[in-house]
Amino acid sequence: MGAYLVRRLALMMLTLFGISVLIFVLLRIVPGNITDIIFDSAGFVNERQKKKIERELGLDQPIVTQYGRWIAGLAKGDLGYAYVSEKPAIDEILPRIPVTAKLAVLALFFSVIIGVPLGVVSAVRQDTTLDYVLRVISLSGLSLPSFWLGLLILMAFVHFLGWIPLYQSSPGNLGKELALLCIPAAAVGFRSSALVMRLTRSSMLEVLRQDYIRTARAKGASDTSVHYDHALRNAVLPVVTIIGIEAAFLIGGLIVTETVFNIPGVARFLVEAIRWRDYPIVQNLVMFIAIVVVVVNFLVDMTYAMLDPRIRYEG
């Protein structure tokens, strides 16, 4: 286990290093930086001023030097300065994290609370009308673009209640904030719940075909006992790993949903920064996302090993 952990951590560092190189090169490989956008909107190009801005931002340095500066800064907790606001990047990013984190946790909660029970029911009642209906619902959940679902929810609110549940910058207390976040979280969570439901269903079906389930039936255990005592316990194990997949899946949903509901979180901020080619923000945010995904996947694997005594990681 110890050797496995070391190897695993080393691989994580390698992956993160790879992402940092990938993202850094991607952002700079194509001609055009923020100075082009500034002068584009100004309508003329002042070459001398352009050079001056590039020098101030360090964009005239070779790409390797720029990369070295970024990583050296990262190690010291210095993320550089945002181009657009000219504030330290960390001051731009950190305050936006809590609201996105709350949204993500709520969405995950919704997706599990809806997805797991429906997946189990769908598997237990395999090939009945109920199963078909649930499968169609989950497939349609996967087919709706999450921004459109968000827009539909907004539309329903406008039409039936006459107000728009847009996020306000200072919602007052935590209760009110959570209430405002619940609607976008449900929009993100519904899509993810479809994924959870599909995976729960197939995992449950797999377990129901095992020999020990037949044994349990043979010894006369009731259907309820077979399904919920014997099968479900083993079927939820793979579902835990879904949370790892979900982490990446949810972030995609958050990006568009924050945009639709006007929520000032990091996900929407990433899109704004990408539009402005605000490199310090984009590269740090993408790194942040990658770290979250990698760490969540690591924790999921560890939890999995803890929950299932059959799994032992070898070094």
């Binding site: 991607l26 673009p145 990408i274 984009v282």
Partner: protein
């Protein structure tokens, strides 16, 4: 495996089949959801192919019909510039189809090439590929596509590339793991024994047998390519004006029109959802047909 005998499979399943039509009818009865998906996909394909002869014009603007309600001259209403929503949805099918097919094809092509090489020949290339896959898969599809799209700049071709590249690792991973088990097969050994070159074995004996999982994966990716395109265009980083992209139509109309012109929000979204729903239904059915182990 890939070249399984359909006629025999149908007969085993108790089908009384003679000719192409009756086997289609049989499959449709056996997989009703898949049949619905197939119908949706056929409608989508026909719309995209025949958009030109419908006489609709997605580009002509008309100040008088700005934000016209559905009905009358504009069946599904008109947008702010007075462009017909129906015409833009019909022509938008072309954009969606182009991006989805283009990105899926590119993604699968490179994914198969990389996965086959790394799985069959192994060695340092395999190690490198595995690490690269890890790296690319630790970023969400949309984030990856967003950064790609932004760095390449907005155009139809760039959108296709930006979506295709993030699709490569998942294809490569599946093809690689398939190849790993296939290369231990007796027939590969036999081919080697008769003196076939390694490259030829990989291409003529291993590659065709990865076709079934590839088809299953490609259908799934068709749907996600359409979704990612719509999200990119919605965020203003995908297919640029004046192309009538479904996602783009929603971004023009977004939050503001929720109140004033709901038809601008509803119809393009219905188009996206219906097509992706179709690919998902069809994809599930294809998976059940091609991969009996996963049959549920």
């Amino acid at each position: 495996m890939a070249d399984h005998d359909h006629a025999a499979a149908l007969e085993r399943a108790g089908a009384n089949v003679s000719g192409w039509w009756s086997s289609v009818a049989f499959l449709a009865r056996k997989y009703p959801l898949g049949a619905i998906g197939a119908v949706i996909m056929v409608i989508f394909l026909l719309t995209a192919l025949l958009a030109g002869i419908t006489g609709l014009d997605p580009f002509s603007t008309d100040a008088r019909s700005s934000l016209a309600r559905p009905g009358g001259e504009h069946l599904l209403g008109a947008d702010f510039m007075g462009r017909d929503v129906l015409a833009r949805i019909v022509f938008g099918a072309r954009i969606s189809l182009t991006v989805a097919v283009g990105a899926t094809f590119l993604g699968c092509f490179f994914g198969v090439a990389i996965g086959l090489t790394s799985g069959f020949f192994g060695g340092w290339f395999d190690l490198l590929v595995q690490r690269l896959i890890d790296i690319m898969q630790s970023l969400p599809l949309l984030v990856m596509a967003l950064v790609m799209a932004a760095s390449l700049g907005p155009s139809l071709t760039n959108t296709i590339i930006a979506i295709a590249i993030p699709l490569v690792p998942s294809v490569a991973r599946v093809i690689r793991s398939n190849t790993l088990s296939l290369r231990e097969m007796p027939y590969v050994e036999a081919a080697r024994a008769v003196g076939m070159s390694e490259v030829r074995i990989a291409v003529t004996h291993v590659l065709p047998n990865t076709l079934a999982p590839l088809i299953v994966l490609a259908t799934a990716q068709l749907g996600s390519a359409i979704l990612v395109e719509s999200a990119l265009s919605f965020l203003g980083l995908g297919v640029p004006e004046p192309h009538p992209s479904w996602g783009r139509m929603l971004s023009e109309s977004a939050a503001e029109y929720v109140r004033t012109a709901p038809w601008l929000v509803i119809f393009p979204g219905v188009a996206i959802s219906a097509v992706v729903f179709g690919t998902n239904l069809l994809g599930d059915a294809i998976r059940d047909v091609l991969d009996p182990r996963q049959r549920q």
